[in-house]
C-alpha cells in the first residue's frame, strides 16, 4: 500500500475542510471495505485519508414523522438488525442482507456503499426504488439530492471534492405498498449482482388496481436505473399477468448492458425481463 496522510476529525466541518483540500485529494474512510481493497490493489492517485468514524453524529437510525433518517456511517448490519427498518422498509433489509458477507456487513456503512457508486450495488438500488434523498454537507453548505440524481457513472457521483454524504432520508411508502428485491448471481454469498431488480407496487386491494409502481434495475447500465416507461404502464392499471409481462418487456428494452468478466450483455438483458416480471408477480402476491 502506498503511504498516505491521515486525519481523524472530530466534527463534520473539520472533515469537510480536510476533504476540500485539493492538494491531497483525500478520500473519506468509512467502513474501509471498498477503500482498503482499492488502496492495496493500487495504483492510487490520492495522498490522504480522512477517517470519518470520529463523527458519531453520522451514525444512527431515527424517525421523524413519516420519514426515516439513516446516518451515513450506519453499518449495513445495523440496518438489518433495526426492527423499525424491518417493519417499514423490509426490502431494504433484503438488499442489505445480500451485500457481501456477514463480516463485511459488520464493517461496511450505508454511506460508503452508496458513495462507492457501483452500478451493481444492492442497497443503492432499493433506495432508488424507495426514492430516498441524500443529504450532503460540503464547503458551500448542505444540499439534498434524490438518489435518482446522485449517480453519474460507475464509481462516479455528483459529490464534489470536500462534500460528504451525511444522511439518507426515506419517506414511508404509501399504504398498501409491497416491494420485492432480487439479486441474481451465480452463488448466494459474497456475490456481485449480474442483474438486480427492485420493484414497489402500491395497489387498491378491492379493485385489484395498481395505483403506483416503481421499478429499478441495476448492473445493466453505467448507473442504476428507474424504468419510467415500465412504471407508467402499470399506473392505474389492473394487475394482470399480461400487464406485468408488458412492463417487464419495457424494462428489458430500456436497458443496454455490457459484456464483462461476470456476464454477457445478452444474458443480462434477458434477466431484466424475467426478473422484473417475477418481482412484479411476487410483489402483487395474490391471484392474477
Amino acid at each position: 500500500m502506498s503511504d498516505f496522510n491521515y486525519w481523524k476529525p472530530e466534527n463534520l466541518l473539520d472533515a469537510v475542510s480536510l476533504l476540500a483540500n485539493m492538494e491531497d485529494q483525500a478520500r473519506p474512510l468509512a467502513g474501509g471495505t471498498d477503500l482498503l481493497v482499492k488502496m492495496k490493489k493500487g495504483p492510487i492517485n490520492w495522498k490522504g485519508i480522512v477517517n470519518l468514524k470520529g463523527l458519531t453524529e453520522l451514525k444512527g437510525i431515527n424517525y421523524e414523522g413519516e420519514t426515516i433518517t439513516i446516518g451515513a456511517l450506519t453499518q449495513i448490519s445495523s440496518l438489518i438488525e433495526n426492527p423499525l427498518v424491518s417493519i417499514h422498509f423490509p426490502v431494504l433489509v433484503d438488499a442489505a442482507r445480500s451485500l457481501g458477507t456477514p463480516q463485511v456487513r459488520n464493517l461496511a456503512t450505508i454511506g460508503g456503499n452508496l458513495c462507492n457508486a457501483s452500478p451493481a450495488a444492492d442497497v443503492a438500488l432499493v433506495l432508488l426504488m424507495y426514492e430516498a434523498r441524500l443529504l450532503i454537507m460540503g464547503p458551500s453548505g448542505s444540499r439534498k439530492v434524490p438518489v435518482q440524481e446522485f449517480y453519474v457513472g460507475p464509481g462516479q457521483t455528483v459529490l464534489q471534492q470536500g462534500e460528504i454524504l451525511t444522511t439518507v432520508e426515506i419517506d414511508l411508502p404509501p399504504l398498501n405498498s409491497k416491494g420485492v428485491f432480487y439479486k441474481h448471481g451465480k452463488r448466494k454469498s459474497h456475490e456481485i449482482a449480474l442483474v438486480n431488480v427492485a420493484v414497489l407496487l402500491t395497489s387498491q386491494p378491492e379493485t385489484k388496481q395498481i395505483t403506483r409502481a416503481r421499478i429499478a434495475v441495476g448492473s445493466v447500465a453505467s448507473t442504476q436505473l428507474r424504468i419510467k416507461d415500465a412504471e407508467d404502464s402499470l399506473t392505474d392499471s389492473l394487475a394482470t399477468l399480461s400487464a406485468f409481462e408488458k412492463a417487464a418487456k419495457l424494462a428489458k428494452e430500456a436497458v443496454n448492458p455490457i459484456d464483462d468478466v461476470r456476464s454477457t450483455a445478452s444474458y443480462r438483458k434477458q434477466m431484466v425481463g424475467i426478473l422484473t416480471r417475477r418481482a412484479l408477480q411476487e410483489a402483487w402476491g395474490g391471484e392474477l
Binding site: 481523524k8 467502513g31 481493497v37 492495496k40 456477514p102 464493517l107 448466494k188 454469498s189 459474497h190
Partner: protein
C-alpha cells in the same frame, strides 16, 4: 509514518508503534505474534482473517490497526484456555470438521459470535452465519454439523 497506539486484544493491552497503513491483521500477526489469525486473500473475500471486534465478526484485513483502538478485539488465541477448549472447538474436533485448518480459526470466531447472539440457530442460519468463511477442504458439511451440535445443547 509510524504512530503509537494501544490495542486491547483478548483482554490485554498492547502498545505498538506501527505504520498508519498497517492493517489490524498484519499488526496482530507481525507485531503481536498472534499468528492464529490467517491471511487467505488480504481483501475481505475469504474470511480466514476473521476476528471479533466488540463481539462482531469482521475481516481484520480490511481494518486499519488505528481503527481498532478503543475496541475490544478477540482472536482465536483468546478462545479456550491453555489446554482447555471452547465447546465450539471441541465440537469441530469431535465431528471431524477440521482438515487443513487454515479456515478454522476464522470459523471458530464467526461461530462463537453467531451462537453468542443466537444460541439456537436453524441450519439455514448457521450456513448464512458462516457464509463469509470460505473453506476448500470440508464442503462445510461437518462444520455445520458441529455448530448445530453445540447449538442443540
Amino acid at each position: 509514518m509510524k504512530i503509537p497506539m494501544s490495542l486491547q486484544v483478548n483482554g490485554e493491552m498492547y502498545q505498538v508503534n506501527v505504520s498508519i497503513k498497517k492493517t489490524l491483521l498484519d499488526v496482530l500477526r507481525e507485531d503481536l505474534a498472534l499468528t492464529g489469525t490467517k491471511k487467505g486473500c488480504d481483501s475481505g473475500e475469504c474470511g480466514a482473517c476473521t476476528v471479533l471486534m466488540d463481539s462482531k465478526p469482521v475481516n481484520s484485513c480490511l481494518i486499519l490497526a488505528v481503527d481498532a483502538v478503543g475496541k475490544q478485539i478477540s482472536t482465536i488465541e483468546g478462545i479456550g484456555g491453555i489446554m482447555e477448549l471452547h465447546p465450539i472447538q471441541e465440537a469441530l474436533i469431535a465431528h471431524g470438521a477440521i482438515q487443513c485448518g487454515y479456515c478454522t480459526p476464522g470459523i471458530v470466531m464467526t461461530a462463537k459470535a453467531l451462537l453468542d447472539s443466537n444460541p439456537h440457530p436453524t441450519e439455514t442460519e448457521v450456513r448464512e452465519g458462516i457464509a463469509g468463511n470460505l473453506c476448500r477442504c470440508t464442503g462445510y458439511v461437518k462444520v455445520v454439523e458441529a455448530i448445530m451440535d453445540v447449538s442443540s445443547r
